[in-house]
């Protein structure tokens, strides 16, 4: 693996320059929020920020995505191009800069679902393959709600990243982790880094992990959830939930979606949109039957899916500890407290 030292003041300029060669999404200040936006050539991204308001899953699994187009014929609406199934895919090389390690790890969790052996999701896989992820380590974890270390992550972890940048004070240590990352070597330039910087990063990693104060027993709850599907615990947990779905929309690992058709005149599109297990209609059947009839069952599903079912299916917890759901919940439902309470059952 190639390692370089990049002068701190040079970084934003390097990314801005890359925006002239490929599509670059990076954190920028948007009013009072930090959001991923497409950079114009030469535009400098934020390099000093806490984390983005939205999770970057949007770049592989967009909020709204056209799956196919159709057009009217005498015999009915038909798929517009039966031969070229991949036509609708958005092409082009993309660079995703400034992804925090928790969010970078979410890509590896989403890969498990969208890139299974059977039923691969071509829309996700195509964008994932064309995107280089440049992660920015959290030398100082930004929020009190951060709990990545409880769910197999770490403030300076490299999972899901092609290139990891760690702030060493004067310079960034740039670790070119994959072939896609190494393709950026010439653009990043810098000077070779060695053992001294490795040691420095190691010390920072220990220190940063220590700064994470939220610790939850995420790995203890699986056997409890296995046994406690019918537990009085679920009867009250959801009561203040407004079913707004914000937690699932901000979650880097939530991946539920809806498919619907939109027609205008003689043509139309089939699109998929993010959906949420928090919504009453999510599972409601045409007959009127709803297997998850109240918010109780929906909350149980959310917890079970992240901490039990994903473990069963993929051997991983579907939570990266970014804390977005904790920060954004309008009624202060806190997944950290819920998991902690479950561990005491």
């Amino acid at each position: 693996m190639e390692k370089r030292l990049i002068k701190k003041e040079a970084l934003a300029g390097i990314i801005g320059e890359l925006a002239g060669r490929m599509r670059v999404y990076a954190p920028v200040q948007a009013e009072d929020q930090v959001l991923f936006k497409a950079l114009a050539e030469g535009e400098k991204p934020l390099v000093d920020f806490a984390n983005t308001k939205n999770a970057p899953k949007n770049f592989f699994f967009p909020r709204t995505e056209t799956l196919m187009k159709f057009t009217r014929t005498e015999k009915g609406m038909v798929h517009k191009d039966q031969e070229k199934a991949g036509e609708e895919k958005q092409g082009g090389e993309t660079l995703l800069f400034g992804v925090r390690p928790c969010d970078a790890r979410s890509f590896t969790l989403l890969d498990m679902l969208f890139d299974q052996e059977k039923y691969q999701d071509p829309y996700y896989i195509d964008k994932r393959a064309k995107t280089t992820v440049v992660a920015l380590g959290c030398v100082h974890p930004p929020y009190t709600t951060c709990f990545c270390t409880s769910v197999d992550g770490a403030p300076l972890a490299a999972d899901g990243a092609d290139l990891l940048l760690t702030d060493l004070g004067e310079s960034y240590l740039a670790e070119f982790l994959t072939t896609k990352g190494e393709a950026l070597l010439s653009a990043f330039g810098g000077t070779p880094a060695g053992e001294a910087e490795d040691k420095q990063k190691e010390a920072l990693a220990t220190q940063a992990a220590g700064e994470i104060r939220s610790r939850i027993p995420a790995h203890e709850v699986k056997p409890i959830l296995d046994a406690r599907f019918e537990d009085p615990f679920w009867n009250t947990l959801h009561q203040k939930c407004l079913a707004c779905g914000t937690c699932t929309y901000l979650c880097p690992t939530c991946h539920c979606f809806d498919i619907s058709d939109e027609t205008k005149g003689d043509s139309g599109v089939r699109i998929r949109n993010w959906d949420s297990c928090m919504f009453p209609l999510f599972t409601k059947e045409t007959s009127g039957h709803n297997p998850r009839p109240s918010q109780k069952e929906r909350w149980r599903q959310r917890v079970m899916h992240k901490f039990r079912y994903y473990m069963d299916n993929f051997g991983a917890i579907a939570c990266v500890g970014c804390g977005r759901c904790v920060m954004a919940c309008p009624v202060n439902l806190d997944i950290r407290k819920i998991v902690t309470d479950i561990a005491k059952l």
């Binding site: 799956l67 196919m68 159709f70 014929t73 015999k75 009915g76 609406m77 038909v78 798929h79 039966q82 199934a85 991949g86 679902l113 969208f114 299974q116 059977k118 039923y119 691969q120 999701d121 071509p122 829309y123 896989i125 599907f229 991946h255 539920c256 979606f257 809806d258 498919i259 619907s260 058709d261 027609t263 139309g268 089939r270 998929r272 959906d275 297990c277 999510f282 599972t283 409601k284 059947e285 045409t286 007959s287 297997p291 998850r292 069952e297 599903q301 079970m304 899916h305 039990r308 079912y309 069963d312 299916n313």
Partner: protein, 279 residues
């Protein structure tokens, strides 16, 4: 990479109105491209997303048998947006089918055993597929005795009436058709499915029962089969859930660690016992 979201183009070649209330029709589709038919290899019990561009998709069990080449059939009740649009369609219309999806009736497990098929109302569609599969001359010797118990509320609500008549004439299938309440022309059996199951009393010896019907029928039929000595491993059924993608991604048919669309829809009672009760 094959795109599992793109439907296969098909043409409606035949429509049969199955019931006197006219809200259940069987649609026969022919593949517009010959190679698609070869690629659409399926087994009884599987389903597909019927895809009408501009309306959406609806997951429906395949009612034809793979032993009947040249077409696939689906029996559909008019209920929501997609199925209502389907019911308006005429022969010659072009639409899409996405599949086959899901597991199937466990054919290898059923082979060599006596098979008891229990169906109620319009949930008889994939059972019909299984029956036609088993009685096909190439397959019949692979299965033991075949007993069919099929009921509907009224004679007019029985589906596949011509086929029921044809099966009744065969000596290699014990067909028992019943209605909750007959009419002036009805000469057949009257009685609820669980009662008829008790009367027919199929032996549980080397036997498997495959049950599909409304929840109320299943609830009262299961105890009969327990009394007859059927184990939970030998009682097979199929679940219905709201679905979109059909390939275990969109999340809405998630029950426990399973996705009904890809891990089901077929489960044994023993498997369902292990699953969370959320369907």
């Amino acid at each position: 990479m094959q795109n599992p979201y793109i439907p296969i183009p098909v043409e409606v070649v035949k429509i049969v109105t199955e019931v006197d209330t006219k809200d259940i029709k069987t649609f026969r589709f022919a593949f517009l491209k010959k190679e698609d038919e070869a690629a659409f290899g399926y087994l009884p019990g599987q389903f597909a997303e019927l895809s009408i561009f501009g309306k959406g998709e609806s997951p429906i069990g395949i009612a034809s048998s793979p032993t009947q080449p040249g077409y696939i059939e689906f029996t559909v009740q008019k209920a929501g947006v997609v199925t209502s649009a389907l019911h308006e369609m005429e022969v010659g219309a072009v639409m899409g089918v996405r599949g086959p999806l899901g597991n199937s009736w466990p054919i290898d497990f059923l082979a060599g055993k006596n098979i008891v098929i229990v169906g109620g109302g319009f949930a008889f569609t994939t059972l019909r597929s299984l029956i036609n599969y088993m009685i096909d001359e190439r397959n019949r010797s692979r299965f033991g005795k075949i007993t069919v118990i099929y009921g509907a509320r009224t004679p007019g609500l029985l589906i596949y009436k011509d086929e029921l008549d044809a099966w009744a004439k065969r000596d290699d299938i014990n067909l028992n058709v019943t209605v909750d309440k007959g009419d002036a022309d009805w000469k057949g059996r009257e009685g609820f499915v669980p009662t008829v199951c008790r009367e027919v009393a199929p032996s549980s010896e080397n036997a498997v029962t495959v049950i599909c019907g409304p929840p109320i029928m299943i609830r009262f039929t299961l105890p009969v089969f327990f009394e007859l000595g059927f184990s939970k491993e030998n009682i097979i059924t199929s679940l219905e859930m709201r679905m979109k993608c059909g390939i275990g991604k969109c999340g809405r048919c998630n029950v426990g660690e399973k996705y009904v669309c890809k891990d089901g829809p077929v489960f044994s009672l023993a498997e369902l016992d292990k699953l969370t009760k959320e369907y």
